[in-house]
């Protein structure tokens, strides 16, 4: 900064003393204005295309989020099928369900204890449930607590979770495979306010804890409960014996093509003149569309 000062000129209060561009740059209000001056966002053709998309999206969204039962059942189903709403919502990741605390909030705290039973008969609690374990104040969101609860709310996850427990145990114990994974459901009931208001509250650790055994999951016979060779190699473990890995069945386009080719070959071998006939009906793909919110 120079030391000699010749008296400042306030461009904001004395525009006469400065050049016009400076005044405009420093004083003119900032604007929001379209270069083309059009009132609407698009030209007519653009408006038509965007309108079609908007119509589709809004109708699909309403069909997807409004109840599709009762008197609306037929309408909702036909609309959904004709517009392929389900596919659209999945493709755009717009699948949504807003049943938070609905129709009632849970009135019990549910936890799933997870045990492994080892070949020597020992049973170990893996401490995956959060009953009495959470640190307070509860500041950072605990997804594992959420997942533990979800295993009880949607029990289709239990087998997959157990398969992971088997694999994870093997990975961290030099390939040793547990015998099975055992589950114990635990829950406490939140008392009705009418019961606790006279005492001005309650201690959640004093509530009666109820337990119930759930079906165990065997590590040797459950699909994907064994560490696959690819992962074993990564961790320096020897490969599995033949047929030890229980794989999931998924029929891809390649499997279908192979099946078709084999069918044709088999038919040709029996009666070459009938090779042009259509192949035998293919096995239906394994249903497994799970998920949801």
């Amino acid at each position: 900064m120079a030391s000699s000062r010749k008296g400042p000129v306030t461009t904001t209060s004395d525009p006469e003393k400065v050049e016009e561009p400076c005044t405009v740059l420093l004083r003119a209000p900032l604007e929001v204005r379209a270069d083309d001056g059009r009132p609407w966002a698009y030209r007519p053709v653009g408006m038509v295309f965007v309108s079609l998309f908007l119509l589709y999206h809004v109708v699909a969204l309403l069909q997807h989020t409004t109840p599709g039962s009762g008197l609306a059942a037929s309408f909702s189903r036909k609309l959904g099928e004709s517009l392929r709403v389900g596919s659209y919502m999945r493709a755009t990741s717009n699948v949504q369900s807003w049943s938070m605390f609905a129709p009632n909030p849970h009135r019990s705290n549910m936890f799933l204890q997870v045990f492994v039973e080892l070949p020597d008969g020992a049973v170990l609690d893996l401490e995956h449930d959060m009953y009495g374990r959470r640190q307070y104040p509860y500041v950072f969101y605990d997804r594992m607590g959420k997942i533990n609860r979800r295993l009880l709310e949607q029990d289709r996850y239990q087998r997959h979770y157990a398969a992971w427990v088997c694999r994870d145990w093997a990975l961290h114990h030099a390939g040793e495979v547990p015998v099975r994974v055992k589950y114990v459901k635990m829950w406490t009931k939140v008392p009705h306010p009418g019961k606790v208001i006279p005492n001005w509250g309650f201690d959640p650790m004093e509530l009666k804890l109820t337990k119930e055994h759930l079906p165990s999951v065997e590590c040797s016979s459950t699909v994907h409960a064994q560490v696959p060779d690819e992962v074993r190699a990564r961790h320096g473990l020897p490969p599995l014996r033949p047929n030890e890995f229980r794989d999931a069945v998924v029929q891809t386009w390649w499997d279908k093509a192979e099946l078709r080719a084999k069918t044709i070959d088999r038919r040709r071998a029996i009666d070459p003149d009938r090779a042009d006939e259509p192949a035998a009906p293919e096995a239906a793909p394994v249903a497994g569309e799970g998920g949801g919110d």
């Binding site: 604007e31 059009r38 965007v50 908007l54 609306a72 950072f140």
Partner: protein, 585 residues
């Protein structure tokens, strides 16, 4: 049409005609806009100020980034082949038809199957899920989201962010919470929004180039199409209305729902709050909050109606509302009347099937309930329109109050804000609260955002000074103080930026205006200053030069507020000041 969790009632006798009526309703809605295309245009194709969308991008983007980073410690468990799912199982269960078109050994059958993959549920982790790959995708997601937030190549980085975030979400839904669903659906809408036109580095660089290249004035911001923001408003209304309608259980009726929700081990912040919650239940605060929450959620679509009515009144007042021939207006009103009649018929039919006098609000028979519900569907809108027109004509003050509060954003979003902040204080529900509040920004207009910046950058007037009243009674003063402090405000003293009077220096100084959202800066030409150098007179402090000048500007330039904590560290403070000044060189 049936209430959630309704018992299985055979409606087969009326199903065909109900279906026909519902198709008719849809056709009437389409006919309405076919008759009044100018309303459709105004609804979706207006051009709006890009700044609220820009702010939404930043706040929502930070929440998405927070959510994704929060998942990082579980990434190995949730997304790699050493975690919960082997890719084949995840593909089979959650990949939709993608599992059929992709073979892990042979890839896709046709090149165009890659396009189909996007139509089916598809995650990059369904193809490959070894830890290095998963962490690489995760890093790319974080980088892409960061670029989207700061607004670099915003359109591209938003699309990439959407694809990568979806790769994380689509792999398996076991960890989903309500917040994750909000993130997914609004990020899709964000991808359709030109939210890089405001508060982005893209816009800054464009305008900076123009100013330094000799533009006669600062280039205007380019307005953006309104429809993606309107879709966001609709989506928010659907979320609240759906969740309110689904809360049909008895705990929401008897006022104990919040008591139970707040006392669940999975949510409360600290067990000691159980005593506070019990006390609030005892003094009827929680039951009242339970009922208010449900009613507010179910009726939230009125906020959309309010936005439409206020838009109409604004345009009408400014003489911009389009005049259309009488026959088109009459036909459109006929459509509305027909829609109401169809809705009334459906309401009556629903009551005939589902109304249960034992649990319903009134002890009336089903046919009586059918008549009542049908009448409500017709009479309530008619009375509302009639009452509104009457207020506008006879009671302008009440009309203004109704527009600002009953139909105004301040009431609907204000209640939501209080509700969500209450939830966040007492419950840990992940980033649900943050993401819900973030998407409120889609409801704000440019001038409203301007007001918010000016309020943030101003200070409250003292009681008795200017227009702010002074109250005789102390309790009166205490009660009114929070509102009056917000209502009666004056600008804080300006920061004076000294610059060389040469044109080049003026152009560089003018760039500061693009970051000065609260208009706290004044400019002073000073011939004693070297070209392109700036110093700042801070009110009550004095002249600041060089890096100190840059540091002094941080509080008045919101784009640099993220630097504020760093400025408190002695050595780093000067570095921050230098960065600020370099931005404008």
């Amino acid at each position: 049409m049936a209430p959630a969790k309704a018992p299985a009632i055979d409606v087969a006798a009326h199903l065909p005609i109900a279906t026909g009526v519902l198709w008719t309703l849809l056709a009437l809605a389409l006919l309405f806009f076919a008759v009044r295309p100018e309303l459709w245009r105004r609804l979706w194709f207006q051009r709006v100020d890009p700044r609220p969308a820009g702010l939404l991008r930043i706040v929502f983007g930070i929440t998405v980034l927070w959510t994704i980073v929060d998942l990082l410690p579980l990434a190995r468990f949730l997304f790699t082949d050493e975690g919960l799912w082997l890719p084949k199982m995840a593909r089979r269960n959650y990949g939709g038809d993608f599992r059929l078109i992709f073979d892990p050994e042979h890839g896709f059958e046709h090149w165009y199957d890659l396009l189909l993959a996007f139509w089916y549920r598809f995650s990059l982790f369904h193809i490959r899920a070894d830890p290095p790959f998963v962490y690489a995708v995760y890093t790319a997601t974080i980088i892409s989201l960061t670029l989207m937030i700061v607004g670099i190549k915003t359109r591209v980085t938003t699309v990439i962010s959407w694809l990568l975030v979806n790769s994380i979400y689509v792999y398996s839904p076991i960890f989903y919470s309500g917040g994750d669903t909000v993130v997914r659906v609004f990020l899709f809408l964000g991808m359709l929004t030109r939210w890089g036109e405001g508060y982005s580095l893209d816009a800054w660089w464009r305008r900076k180039r123009a100013v330094l290249a000799g533009a006669p004035k600062i280039p205007p911001l380019r307005p953006i199409p309104a429809w993606p923001l309107r879709l966001m408003m609709l989506q928010l209304a659907i979320i609240y209305c759906a969740t309110g309608a689904l809360k049909s259980g008895h705990t929401w009726m008897d006022g104990t729902a919040l008591f139970f929700a707040l006392n669940l081990d999975h949510f409360y912040r600290h067990p000691a709050q159980i005593y506070l919650v019990t006390f609030m239940q005892a003094i009827w605060v929680l039951p009242l909050a339970t009922w208010v929450t449900r009613i507010w959620e179910m009726t939230f679509p009125l906020a959309l109606l309010g936005a439409a009515v206020n838009g109409y009144e604004r345009d009408r007042g400014a003489g911009l509302w389009p005049v259309v021939p009488l026959w088109r207006r009459a036909l459109s009103w006929l459509c509305v009347a027909a829609m109401l009649a169809a809705a009334a018929w459906l309401a009556a039919l629903t009551a005939l099937y589902y109304y249960d006098p034992a649990v319903g609000p009134w002890r009336i028979s089903k046919p009586q309930a059918a008549a009542v519900f049908a009448a409500i569907v017709v009479v309530v809108p008619a009375l509302a329109v009639g009452g509104y027109l009457l207020l506008r004509r006879k009671r302008p003050t009440w009309h203004r109050v109704a527009r600002q509060w009953l139909l105004g954003k301040r009431m609907w979003l204000g209640v939501g804000l209080v509700m969500h902040l209450g939830i966040d204080v007492l419950m840990n529900v992940g980033t649900f609260v943050q993401v819900m509040i973030a998407v409120y920004i889609a409801w704000i207009s440019g001038p409203e955002l301007d007001k918010i910046w000016h309020t943030l950058m101003s200070r409250p007037q003292a009681p008795g000074v200017g227009e702010r009243p002074r109250y005789k009674r102390r309790w009166h003063h205490l009660l009114r103080a929070p509102i009056d402090r917000l209502r009666y405000r004056v600008p804080r003293p300006a920061y004076v930026v000294h610059h060389n009077p040469g044109e080049d220096s003026v152009r560089h100084a003018a760039l500061l205006r693009l970051w000065d959202l609260g208009e706290r800066l004044q400019f002073l030409a000073d011939e004693g200053l070297a070209p392109r150098r700036l110093c700042v007179t801070v009110p009550g402090v004095g002249l600041r030069r060089d890096a100190d000048a840059g540091r002094a500007l941080v509080p008045v330039l919101p784009g640099f507020w993220w630097m504020y904590p760093w400025c408190l560290i002695p050595g780093v403070s000067r570095l921050c000041g230098s960065i600020v000044l370099r931005t404008f060189r």
